[in-house]
Amino acid sequence: MEYETIIGLEIHAELSTESKMFCGCSASFGGGPNTKTCPVCLGHPGSLPVTNMKAIEYTMMLALALNCEITPRSVFHRKNYFYPDMPKNFQISQYDIPLSTDGHLDADMNDYVRKVGITRVHIEEDTGKSIHIGESGRIHGAEYSLEDFNRAGIPLAEIVTEPDIRSAEEARAFMQLLRATLEYLGISDCKMEEGSLRCDANISVAVDGKLGTKVEIKNMNSFRSLFRALSYEEERQRFALEQGGGLIQETRHWDDAEGKTHPLRSKEEAFDYRYFPEPDLVPIEPDPEWVDRLRENLPELPQARFHRFMEQFGLARDIASMLTGEKALADYFERAVETGQGPEELAKWIAGDLSAMLREAVVPIQHCPVAPRGLGELVALVNQKVISGKMAKEVLREAFETGKGPQRIVDEKGLSQIADAHELEVVVDEVIAENPGAADDMRTGKEQALKFMMGQVMKKTRGKANPEVASRLLKQKLIGRE
C-alpha cells in the first residue's frame, strides 16, 4: 500500500493597522483588559461598524503578492455562534464571495519546488481573548472565564490553501515563505508566539490514491510546533491505517509540552454558523485603478529576492534562502555588499558567526551591534591579510560585544599580522637558533618538524605571524626551497 500525506493550511494574520477593522479603537498588542474597546467592538445595540480602508488595502496587497484574483464585488457575512469571545454573538467575516481567490505561492524545497494553491484570501475581524479560571487552567473544568475584548475587531487576513502540501517539511517551508511575504509587504507583525500569525492545518493520509479522513489540528504556535504537530499527526494516522483501524473526522489540539495531539471539543457542536450577508456593511468593489496601483507598488518579494541573490551575488541556494527569509537580514547583507567586499564572504559571515551571535544574545538583526559597514571592514582586514581568518572571528566577537569597529579593535590590540618578511626573518632566525634539534629534523625532511617550528614562530609573535610568509622563510632557510 502506498501512503500519501495531504495537508492544507488555514492561516490568520493580524494586520498592523493603527485602528481596528470597524471602529477607531487601537489595534496594538497588549494593554490592560478592555482598555481598547468601544460600543462598536463591544457589540452594543445601535452601534454601527465602518470598514477600515487600510485593512482592505493591506489584504489586497497580500492577495496580489500571492498571485490571487481580486473579486470585483465582495461582501461581508455574519458568522453566528454562541461563545463569549465575541460580544455580538457573531464575527464579521467573508463567506461565499471573498475579497480574492485562486492564487499560489511556491515554496523552494532545495531540490524541488512545491507549488501551493491559494484558495482564497479574505478579511475578517479577530475575536476577544478568554482566560479560563479554574483548577486546571484549561477550558475543561474551568469555573469561569474572563473576557478581554482588546483583540476583538482587530483586522485579520485569512489565507486558505489548497490541499497541495505533502509533508510537515513543506508545510513549514510554506509557512516561513508566507511569513516572509507578510513581512516584506510590511502589513503584519508576524509574531507566531504573540498570536499575530496563527496557523491551523487539515491533514489526512491517502491510501493508494484514495483520500483519507481529514483531521484539523489547532494550537501550533511556532514553526517548530507546526512541524512537530504535523509529523506527529502524520505518524499517528499512518499507524492507525496500518493497524487497520479507523480514523474519525475531528479537531485535535497540539500539546507542545507533551508532543502529542488530543481531541478537542468544538466551539459549536454542529458546525453551522448560519452565515448571512452583514446588513450593516455595504459591498466592496475595488476600483481597478486602485488595484493596479497596489500591484505596481508591491515591493520586491522574498522569492524574487532569493533568485536575485543567487544570480546577482552568486550565493549558494541555502545561504540565499536563509538571508532572504527575513527582510532585515537581507537588507543588512545588501548594505554590507555596498562596502565593496565580496558578497559570498559577507554572506558566509552573516549566515555563520554573526547569526550565531545574534541567536545567542537574542538580538534581532535590526539591533545588531556590528553595522554592515563594520562587517565590510572585517572582511577587508582579512582580504588584505592584516588579520587571519581565525583572528577575524575573535575580532567580530569583540566588535559584537563592545560595538567598536573591527579596524579600531585591531589597532587598539595590536592584532595586525606580521606579513613583513624582514620583520619575520628576525623571528625565524631566533627560532632556528633556539631549536637546533628541530631545525636538523627539518633539514632531513621530517614533516613534523615544520609544524613545531611554525608553532614556535606563532608563540613568539603571539599568533600574529602571517602563516604563509613564516612557512616560506623557514623552508628557504632550512631546506633551501619554498
Partner: protein, 94 residues
C-alpha cells in the same frame, strides 16, 4: 417544502431556544410555510438578475485608518452583570 421536527429542534438548539412540543409543531408549520413561499418566489426567472445581498445602492463605504478615543474600562464594563479587574466574567463555557 416541508420542515421536520428534527430540523426545528436543530435550529432551536443553535439559537439556544427551549421549545415545548406544541411550539415545535407550530414553528414546524410556520417555517414550512415560509420556505414554501420562498420556493414560489424562486419560480420567477431571475437568470439575468444579479443576486441581491444588500438593498442600499451603496458600495465602498470606508473610513481612514485613524484612532478614536475608546471607552474607559469603567464605562466598558460598568453595565456588565459580572466583571472583575477590568475583564468581563462569564460562567464556565464547556
Amino acid at each position: 417544502m416541508a420542515i421536520s421536527i428534527e430540523d426545528v429542534e436543530h435550529v432551536a438548539r443553535l439559537a439556544r431556544l427551549k421549545l415545548t412540543e406544541e411550539e415545535k409543531e407550530t414553528y414546524r408549520r410556520q417555517l414550512s410555510d415560509v420556505l414554501e413561499h420562498a420556493r414560489k418566489i424562486s419560480e420567477v426567472d431571475t437568470s439575468d438578475v444579479p443576486p441581491t445581498s444588500h438593498t442600499l445602492p451603496l458600495r465602498n463605504v470606508f473610513r481612514e485608518d485613524s484612532l478614536r478615543p475608546s471607552l474607559s474600562v469603567k464605562e466598558a464594563t460598568g453595565s456588565a452583570a459580572w466583571a472583575v479587574e477590568g475583564a468581563f466574567k462569564v460562567p464556565r463555557i464547556i
